[in-house]
Symmetry: C2
Subunit: 324 residues, 2 copies
């Protein structure tokens, strides 16, 4: 079995080795830039690990894994335009550095670089791999649409929120795992179990990200906490709080999130106080752990020997519980 460290290196190398036409350096410089900002390479590593459950020929899954990572970065470039986010992983966002038009066009070309990588899946599973990719990419766009629409909605239910993060975040993790399983030669049933593992895990990760933004250790988290609260972002925490709060507390919370005070820290403190009164943190943590437990139950059922699953399990365990 290959370790997650090795697979991350392998993914990084393959990403760095992507070559682009020399005819338009301006087009590809932002592509190289966003791909060089790093990140955990969670998706390609998950794809390769999933392939490795069934096969040692992980090279067959390498370019599709890279394609998924390129697609993920494509969404970051365009989402940062839509969200007017100036920073990405602590560096200037592509549109901040090169302007909107360049971010739009360099993002566009990444969609086809991604698909070209997916197109390098083995011939006998190409149609299925490509179909999964296109379906997933479309779902991610739908998720982003729902997220944008949330901004204008006064009230979002917990179910609506969970569906949004399922589409915007979780299905791509799920598709990464299923892609690896398809290429590794897994049975249909195992492909679906790994998809489900990824889907549940993806939802849990997003809830944890929401928790991190409010309760994370600034030293480990790398940025100031409370950013989501200050920006009135509809996170799981806020959605849940608005759902369970009542009476005077609800009115106070509504007033707080409709305000943009000069003293952001006082606002963050006040909202967090309401979260505490409602035990929102606990509920969010419990929900994330529910999803993680169900994810592991799905992984348990995958019909390969337990020791073949140990790397994937270990990596997952390392990724969770970053809040505590």
């Amino acid at each position: 079995m290959f370790t997650s460290d090795y697979l991350r290196e392998l993914s990084d190398k393959a990403i760095t080795s992507l070559t682009f036409s020399p005819e338009a350096d301006k087009l590809f410089a932002p592509v190289r830039y966003i791909l060089s900002l790093g990140g955990k390479r969670l998706r390609p590593v998950m794809c390769l690990m999933s392939c490795n459950l069934f096969s040692d020929k992980i090279d067959e899954a390498l370019m599709p894994a890279v394609g998924i990572e390129v697609f993920h970065n494509f969404t970051l470039v365009h989402d940062d335009i839509m969200d007017k986010s100036d920073l990405r992983r602590g560096s200037p966002a592509v549109h901040s550095r090169w302007g909107l038009n360049q971010a739009l066009l360099s993002g566009d070309v990444m969609a086809f670089i991604a698909t070209d990588c997916i197109g390098q899946a083995p011939a006998k599973v190409l149609a299925k791999t490509l179909k999964l990719f296109n379906t997933t990419a479309t779902e991610v766009c739908i998720g982003q649409q729902i997220d944008i629409d949330f901004e204008k909605k006064k009230f979002v239910t917990e179910a609506e929120y969970l569906r949004m993060i399922e589409l915007k975040t979780a299905v791509l993790v799920a598709a990464s795992l299923k892609t690896g399983a398809i290429i590794g030669g897994a049975s249909e049933k195992d492909q679906e179990l790994l998809y489900e593992f990824g889907r549940l895990l993806g939802i849990a990760f997003q809830i944890q990200d929401d928790l991190l933004d409010t309760y994370g250790d600034t030293r480990m988290f790398g940025k100031k906490t409370g950013g989501d609260i200050a920006a009135n972002k509809k996170t799981y925490l806020l959605v849940k709080a608005l759902e369970v709060a009542g009476g005077e507390r609800l009115r106070t919370l509504r007033k707080l999130i409709e305000s943009s005070p000069a003293d952001e820290e006082a606002k963050v403190t006040a909202v967090k106080a309401i979260f505490d009164e409602l035990e929102i943190r606990l509920q969010a943590e419990n929900l994330a752990y529910d999803y993680i437990n169900k994810a592991f139950q799905s992984l348990e059922q995958v019909s390969v020997k337990p020791d073949r699953k140990s790397e994937l399990k270990q990596m997952t365990v390392n990724l969770i519980g970053r809040v505590k």
Copy 2:
């Protein structure tokens, strides 16, 4: 042989029949809108005609043909953002009607709808069809990049201009024809001959479009002529004029295109007068006809009986000579 009218209807029907997730109407409304604005459906019809040269099973090429049309419309949605064009085919551009963010995201999802259509090519030619599509899509992005970069360049050579339109416009026409040929079961040689036919034709069409904007019959052309001159757009005519003009005439032309006078019509008239002195129109027409002749020479060599080529020839003849 199927007629171009029948194939256009077939393409239109298939485009209208595309179904989208009901979960995000806002995302897909602009997709339906841009696809409903019509146009000649040149690319899908060319794709189907090319397939029909070799096979009567044109249904196998229908979804890939639709995919190429969806891709083409995807580029229109995003190009209109970049070019700040408020109108598309006489109707509001997507970003004018729904805003920039919506045009960006709805455009994005079209890239994956397109690829999903391409993915419905017959299994045995899927890898090749997909590779051609991704390569072409990347080239179209490079063409758009070069076009954007032209705006800031003081001097563009004729060769640079021709390469730009080859990438931005011609390779997609070429790929449409080659896709049909691949799916129709053409030999490698015939696939390349049809690609070349489309590439040369695509360049000729763009030169003719440039001519139309300046010299077109307003009644047939459907919009005011001289728009490119008023906007200082680097068309073939202007590029060529700047290349051959000298001395006082070059200085006058430079001054004109660096100006944004209140009286646009006077400017258009003055620039056209210089074009006339330099016989730019004649040179452009000759060049377009050179490309068309070479295109037909390529089509001649395709190894199917002449009468099978008659529909494709007729359609091409109908498309050219719109200026005269």
